[in-house]
Amino acid sequence: MPNISVKINGIITSVREGVTILDACGTAGVDIPTLCYHPDLSLAGNCRMCLVEVEGWRTLAIACVTPVTPNMAVLTHSKKVRHARRTVLKLLLASHNANCSECERNKNCELQELAEKHNITNNEYQTSPKPESIEEVSPGIMRDNSRCILCTRCVRTCEELQSVAVIKPVGRSSSVTISTFMDRSLNDVPCTQCGQCVIRCPTGALFETSEIRPVWEAIENPDKFVVFQTAPAVRVGLAEALGLPIDRSTGQMVAAIRGLGVDRVLDTDFTADLTIIEEGHELISRLKGALVDNDESVALPMMTSCSPGWIKFIEHKYPELLPNVSTCKSPQQMFGALAKTYLAGKEVIDPASIVSVSVMPCTAKKFEKERPEMRDSGYKDVDYVLTTRELARMIDEAGIDFEKIEEEKFDRWMGDSTGAGVIFGATGGVMEAALRTAYEIVSGHEIPFDGLNVEPVRGMEGIKEAAITMPEKMATGFEFLAGVTLKVAVAHGLANAKILMDKVRAGEADYHFIEIMACPGGCLGGGGQPIPTSPEIRQKRTESIYAEDAALHFRKSHANPEIQLLYAEFLKEPLGQKSHELLHTHYIKRD
């Protein structure tokens, strides 16, 4: 497309033909307020916040949808525009539950921010807020339609990014609500609890089911031994959640959590490494079953099982492919099972007194920990799950100055992590970590990628593919893989997962191993991460994740000293009896 000239507030600007007025204004350095617009989603044009005046037009134009044409003259703060924007805001506020101090999104609310920016101090229109209607049934996500402004970002997220589509506008006129089939609870529809809707909601209509209170109570109870685990992506999101620039903050995070008064601060990266060992051996064993034993019951491609949103998705939508899913529990649940067995032994603590808390970039993890099968330690393996945002709120409440706090290290036994564990937080990371370990196990050599960086599985492409040919000379016992080309695929965002699953189901995919993360960008873009999200924000978090990987001494899961100790003292061998008891699980078909 050629460049054209448009006039924005009288100033001639050169932009590409066909871009929207919103983009053109961005180029010209003019800020246009938006609410229903989101860079990840299709254009709705329903909030009417971005109205601008176009010379010669009878009506105002919505900047987010309207393409520029040559010599178009746009006014962005004429009297008409200003009146329109203020009126739109007043209309939204008139029917909005503006009990801001009680809202999770207070001071991080796009409606509040725009009201402040447009100096809305009084409202001539009668206010008749919708009645509060909090749904508390679902373990991961809560809804309060009294705060909803009907921008439909959640609806578009659920449908376009996730191919789940369980929420839709229902009813008409002022009685429209965003609802589910027959107005059921999110628990009773195929919602994956991924929380992608939550991080795109401009207000507080969607938020996580908070577990801050029971966690404080556990910390304050002297009879409880509170163990925290922190997921890889939390360390690249926490600073942001506390209002600081996007950066990794592992040491500060550990110090701040310790500052809350918890007994042990440990790392989910440790069990990410453990997942790699178990899952890597599972893959090799499946390949052997298929290639050597010609066992037709072996399901390939094997698929990762770390992402609980993905697991719930496949249980609902592709139950016939459940045998393909790795039996490995997610790192969170492996950690939980070990905390109340292995760690209890090491620390000489009654497992009944352990309160196991995980900090996750995820709302689906709150659902996962409630699964009835997640009690292999004899107790509930994980008691509470906090999102990155909830941890930030606790740090704020405790008055901890995150910027000034001295960095500290994780506690021992389950606190060592490797770069391979860290990159679990980014799409392609589990695949890369698995390849780093599996290749070395079967060939005896490091994976032949510069700096161990398996670039083909990195990046924001929705579906990534790679093929790695094994050397001719293999380690003893793995000769059957000599010269075999291992085909892998990686998808993030459930809409991309669906594309891949349709191919697998149709028999059109010849992959051996597939990594799926429910959330765009992987866990760093998870539903429990700081709000807002955008491709740029996820890109920055990704860079932080890979920087953390590169900075760590150990980059391969099997090199983790504490993992080696765990096997030596407790598990004995990968896929062994103890592993099967504690670290592996099964799945169920859901309607």
């Binding site: 009878r58 105002l60 839709k168």
Partner: protein, 393 residues
């Protein structure tokens, strides 16, 4: 004025004669004739039909569509019902000519939910035309196929708006789309689509048979053709009337036998409310948009009741998608309540509501929200007696 009647004339053209003539012309010539006639959409918005057909014909894309908007939902309109009941052959013929003109073989009639009894009427006309080889495969032996199906609506007023109608046809919620793209480029199932009103299609055979110039001469001034009006309310002879486009309201009322006129609602609830002093205003796109509905209120009517009724209608019928329409109509309803209860006692206090009405007109997504405040502005300024207020207005 009976000589000016074409749609409700005693003599009807022989079914198929206009189609026969069209098929003897190039499709471009058919579009040209319609364009030259300067006929504008009879649904109310008044977009030039020939230009619409030309755009759809020129649009790239296969499986082009011809859709008849028979979702006659504007309060007080019943002219399309009358046309379908009595002249459905003309409608189907007009659609078929449109199909030939733009290169489409598929027509759909989106029929108002409340008109199910018209389905057998249309079906019979369709069967008759198929029997005569005027519809279906190889029409009149030519390499031209065209068939028409009927799809009943589900009762939403907003589905009279063409993009909502298309969404509804696709099985989705009936809510307006953003434009561009326009239906002529990307309409039903992303196909180039022409959507026209029943009356527009019904006029086409006459234009083809008698020529563009003849049609132009039927109107007054720059308004071409005749127009059907459904008149109801406080008059002697309610019904459907055909008048030259550009006729005055007074002429129409005289024909329908209006005695005592306090107000006339022209163009339905979303149209204009005029006083007895404005009866010389013309029914034309340059003055009072002649959608088809004319409702007369005599001096016994309390206009605040009328206003309340209209606003209630819009509050009920807004699709709820865009902020200005969904929330705006509710706030206008508040204003009416406040006036009625005496809580607003001056025009000055109404200022925020007039401002709201203006924003709705220029800021709403579709015609519904853009026109729903008309009745508020007109009735409050012309019929409600409120002092200006301290500072004046």
């Amino acid at each position: 004025m009976s000589e000016k009647k074409i749609l409700i004339a005693a003599e009807q053209p022989i079914a198929g004669s206009a189609l026969k003539k069209s098929l003897g012309m190039t499709s471009a010539d058919v579009v040209f004739e319609v364009r030259e006639s300067e006929i504008r959409g009879r649904g109310g918005a008044g977009f030039p039909t020939g230009i619409k057909w030309n755009l759809a014909g020129a649009a790239s894309g296969s499986n082009k569509m011809v859709i008849c908007n028979a979702d006659e939902g504007e309060p007080g309109t019943f002219k399309d019902r009358y046309l379908i009941e009595n002249y459905s052959l003309k409608l189907l013929e007009g659609m078929t000519i449109a199909g030939y003109a733009i290169g489409s073989s598929h027509g759909i009639i989106y029929l108002r939910a409340e008109y199910p009894y018209l389905i057998p009427v249309i079906e019979k006309a369709r069967e008759d035309l198929i029997r005569e080889n005027l519809l279906g495969e190889n029409i009149l032996g030519k390499d031209f196929n065209f068939d028409i199906e009927i799809r009943p609506g589900a009762g939403a007023y907003v589905c009279g708006e063409e993009t909502s109608l298309i969404e509804s046809l696709e099985g989705k919620r009936g809510v307006p789309r953003n434009k561009p793209p326009y239906p002529v480029n990307s309409g039903y199932l992303f196909r180039p689509t022409v959507v026209n009103n029943v009356e527009t299609f019904a006029a086409v055979p006459h234009i083809i048979l008698n020529g563009a110039e003849w049609f132009q001469d039927l109107g007054i001034g720059d308004c071409t053709g005749t127009k059907l009006f459904s008149i109801s309310g406080d008059i002697e002879n309610p019904g459907v009337y055909e008048m030259p486009m550009g006729s005055s309201i007074g002429e129409l009322l005289e024909a329908a036998g209006a005695q005592d006129v306090q107000a006339v609602q022209v163009g339905g609830a979303s149209g204009a409310t005029i006083t007895a002093d404005e009866l010389d205003r013309s029914l034309s796109f340059s003055d009072l948009p002649p959608g088809g509905s004319v409702i007369v209120f005599n001096s016994s009517r309390d206009m605040i009741d009328v206003l309340e009724n209209f606003i209630e209608f819009f509050v009920h019928e807004s699709c709820g998608q865009c902020t200005t329409c969904r929330e705006g109509n509710v706030r206008l309803q508040d204003a009416v309540r406040l006036i009625r209860n005496g809580e607003i006692s001056s025009m000055e206090e109404l200022e925020p509501f007039f401002q709201l009405a203006e924003v709705m007109k220029i800021g709403s997504k579709c015609g519904l929200g853009q026109t729903s405040p008309n009745c508020f502005i007109d009735i409050v300024t012309k019929f409600i007696d409120l002092p200006a207020g301290k500072g004046g207005v």
